[in-house]
């Protein structure tokens, strides 16, 4: 079966993000970018399913600036077969992501879409569930396991109280949680091979969907800083501070 995976380009999770002084957003110039970690897990899952003989083709999609080509190449070095970039310099919010992906799914007809549960920049946690809704497909969000059997799949989801098992019909959209797998490192030979894999560039107009943002960001601020704390010498002093100063125990 054919699988579609998504790969968003985001600021590296280990970079200290700085708010711009004019409050219009965060600094992105000359900052290390990477594939959203949850998307890496999605790509890895698709590749493992291909290695296991369950999946025949992996198409990876990214939406954003021209530089997302690098993200797609990384996904192809991990094992995706071909890439699609929906190229736009504009801000793309989750509803627009879902609409663009729906147009691509309509054309590509995958049996499974694997997405990250959350983009670590906007922290929205929406796009996968939205795509499932627009397609009228079942969804399994925040999965830590998936086993495909014929026309369905059994999935384990990470929920607030523990784990949940669902059986879903295919085609479906699933979103990855951290414990689904550990993504592989890309090797130099695979990076070289990935350069030759097909990468299609589509403009939003060609998809025939309205991708304009619905939310206007009025300002972006730094959160309030916590006051400086104090170092205590030993456990006795710690307990005394908690009892007599902070009065929390």
């Amino acid at each position: 079966m054919k699988v579609l995976v998504t790969a968003k380009r985001v600021i590296d999770p280990y970079v200290k993000v700085r708010v711009k002084s004019d409050g219009s957003g965060v600094e992105t110039a000359n900052i290390k970018m990477t594939m959203n970690p949850f998307c890496e897990i999605a790509v890895e899952q698709a590749v493992r399913m291909k290695e296991a003989g369950v999946v025949s083709e992996i198409v990876v999609v990214s939406i954003g600036a021209q530089q997302c080509q690098e993200t797609l190449r990384t996904a192809m070095a991990m094992g995706a077969d071909r890439g699609i970039l929906v190229e736009t310099a504009d801000e793309v919010q989750p509803l627009a992501v879902a609409k663009a992906l729906k147009a691509i799914v309509d054309k590509e007809q995958p049996k499974l879409v694997i997405m990250g549960k959350q983009a670590i920049d906007d922290d929205c946690n929406q796009s996968g569930q939205m795509l499932a809704a627009l397609l009228g497909w079942p969804q399994a969000a925040f999965i830590s396991n998936i086993a495909v059997n014929g026309d369905g799949a059994e999935v384990t989801r990470e929920i607030d109280g523990g784990l949940e098992k669902l059986s879903i019909r295919l085609p479906a959209v699933v979103t990855t949680d951290l414990r689904l797998n550990e993504p592989r490192y890309v090797t130099l030979p695979n990076i070289m091979k990935a350069k030759k894999k097909p990468l299609e560039i589509i403009k939003p107009d060609a998809l025939g969907v309205d991708m304009s943002p619905r939310l206007t960001t009025l300002k972006v601020q730094e959160p309030a800083k916590r006051g400086a704390g104090v170092k205590v010498a030993d456990v006795k002093e710690l307990v005394s501070k908690l009892k007599n100063e902070a009065r929390v125990i």
């Binding site: 922290d123 109280g161 949940e164 205590v232 456990v235």
Partner: protein
């Protein structure tokens, strides 16, 4: 203005974040209706009727609402969505699962995880693991919003209980089937509701060593949490994870033990009232957010802490 709040519950009781979500809805301004959908959940509906600010409760019972499947809950919400200006739910695993479905089918851009309400159409939400706060305005006709419970003080009790009306279920979508849940069992308070949390990280070394934290937690009546590293190492179950991609907590006291203080962990706990950290590394970044910190080996400090509380 009319607001629909979708309540999370275990059929008997409401989940901890619901009262905070209702408090956020009160700030948006308008009549508040609470939807309680489940298998046999009349008790939860009665509980919702007794929360201040609630004008009406809709009770919808059907076997296929067990497990709160996203497809079915979203379809039910959509059946009445047209009557409301705002649709609001907690930004918990429950709300995050079905709300984007509701938003997409209404052709609305959801506003996720709000930590403050500026006005009926303007909200504050953390982005980049809480490194920045964005103030966003929605132009959509219906606002679909999920609420970060720690941003809002819980709503109080109502003087008079609101009426509870029955709502007809929507047919089972048949798209997915609930098989079952494996819930972590514990006699301790729940992470998102606890007044005190004791959290362990990779420094704990093993799941066995978490017993040290459990002993301390029992003395304090605290919940036990963990960093991602502790969960990934298999020390504790996934639902212990506090952070950007785990649970967001803000207890009166958060005790971080053997946790370095990565930004993704801080994202989940830095709004706690008092934070203490125990770490043997004098440079651990967690100290930057701690009110009190102790540079010591946890295997010495934690048992001593427990003993000191018994003294």
């Amino acid at each position: 203005m009319a607001i629909l709040v979708i309540a999370e519950h275990d059929n008997k009781q409401l989940r901890p974040g619901v009262t905070n979500t209702i408090a956020a809805a009160v700030k948006m301004g308008g009549d508040i209706t609470v939807l309680v959908a489940g298998k046999q959940c009349a008790d939860a509906a009665q509980a919702a009727a007794k929360i201040a600010g609630v004008a009406k409760v809709l009770l919808c019972e059907a076997p296929h609402y067990e497990g709160a499947l996203a497809e079915n809950i979203a379809a039910l919400v959509l059946s009445i969505a047209g009557q409301y200006t705002h649709i609001v739910a907690p930004a918990s695993g429950f709300g995050k699962n079905f709300m984007p479905r509701v938003a997409a089918l209404l052709d609305v851009q959801q506003i996720s995880d709000i930590s403050a309400v500026e006005s009926a159409d303007t909200f504050v939400r953390p982005i980049y693991a809480g490194n920045a706060l964005a103030t966003v305005q929605s132009k959509d006709k219906i606002k679909v919003v999920t609420v970060r419970a720690t941003g809002f003080d819980a709503a109080g009790a109502a003087a008079v209980a609101a009426p509870v009306e029955n709502l007809a279920p929507v047919a089972d979508s048949g798209l997915s089937k609930f098989i079952g849940q494996e819930l972590s069992k514990s006699d301790r308070p729940e992470l998102t509701a606890a007044r005190i949390i004791v959290s362990g990280g990779r420094g704990m070394g093993s799941g066995e060593n978490f017993k040290l934290l459990e002993a301390l937690a029992d003395k304090l009546g605290a919940a036990v949490g963990a960093s991602r590293a502790a969960v990934d190492s298999g020390f504790v179950p996934n639902d212990y994870q506090v952070g950007q991609t785990g649970k967001i907590v803000a207890p009166d006291l958060y005790i971080a033990v053997g946790i370095s203080g990565a930004i993704q962990h801080l994202a989940g706990m830095k709004d706690s009232k008092v934070i203490i950290a125990i770490n043997k590394d004098p440079e651990a970044p967690i100290f930057a957010v701690a009110n009190y910190w102790l540079v010591e080996d946890l295997f010495k400090a934690v048992p001593e802490f427990t003993r000191e509380l018994s003294a």
